[in-house]
Symmetry: C2
Subunit: 155 residues, 2 copies
Amino acid sequence: MAQAELDVFDLNILRILQKDASLTNKEIASQLNKSVATVHERVRRLKEQGYIKRVVAILDRKKINKSLIAFSQVLLHDHTAETLATFEREVSKFPEVMECFQMTGTFDFILRIATSDMDAYHDFYRNKLAKLPNITTVQSFFVLSETKSITAYPI
Amino acid sequence: MAQAELDVFDLNILRILQKDASLTNKEIASQLNKSVATVHERVRRLKEQGYIKRVVAILDRKKINKSLIAFSQVLLHDHTAETLATFEREVSKFPEVMECFQMTGTFDFILRIATSDMDAYHDFYRNKLAKLPNITTVQSFFVLSETKSITAYPI
DNA sequence: ATTGAAATGTAGGAAAC
DNA sequence: GTTTCCTACATTTCAAT
């Protein structure tokens, strides 16, 4: 499968779907002055080729009792392939961990942790995260307020 | 409008839609052993009451030329309401800024910045971020690798 | 690759329980 | 609040360009 470049029409479709994937092909077609069948075919290809990874519902975290978001910076003892792989595998299993990135700089990983409150975070920290092997330090920062939070990349 | 509590059925619907919002009501109904109309009504309510904020397409950032993700920690000169509000308002206007959170700890804000590469980040930093008023320091960390990245809260 | 039109399936609304 | 029924609309396929 040749990975064709995206044209302006593809990009416009992606822009729209990143913001609202509940729009119908008809509405998208009308915005972009194309036929419904063409939009359908383009969207099918964008999914098939992996540009669109998935379509998800974004919830209001405060309404579902995930009021506390923490960013936790983790430093490991060493950086052997084994140590890194073990940490990544184990930390990914925790449902509280929504994101885990290996980073440049003075620590190794940054985690985004979602819990209901500080008690739940504390429990996660003591009984899950801090029990993983080879951790030197964990430094946590908590979200006070959310100024902007979007999933759409600027394209 | 009374904000009713969510029952197990609501939570199951939210769990499913957080992972795949392209499923039809029919498929959800079959998974949960309920009728399509019931699922339809529950989903309608979950949207109306704001539990579901929006439905979006998640793209593969590397395929759309957003290979570089930075987390930037920002410290401001002061914390008057005016200074905070101005920073929040202005930084939110930049399309590269996908997230902005005010934080506890040794800095004021954490930003998630998406750009194509280090040159583009540098340009963003010098010509946009660093030009905002009242910034004391910006410390940036870059994603080396993505171990886990989901939008679904654990519920 | 794009289109209009046909066929299929789903969403959305109404009425009864 | 749930179910069944019904209509409108959306998706999907296809032949033609």
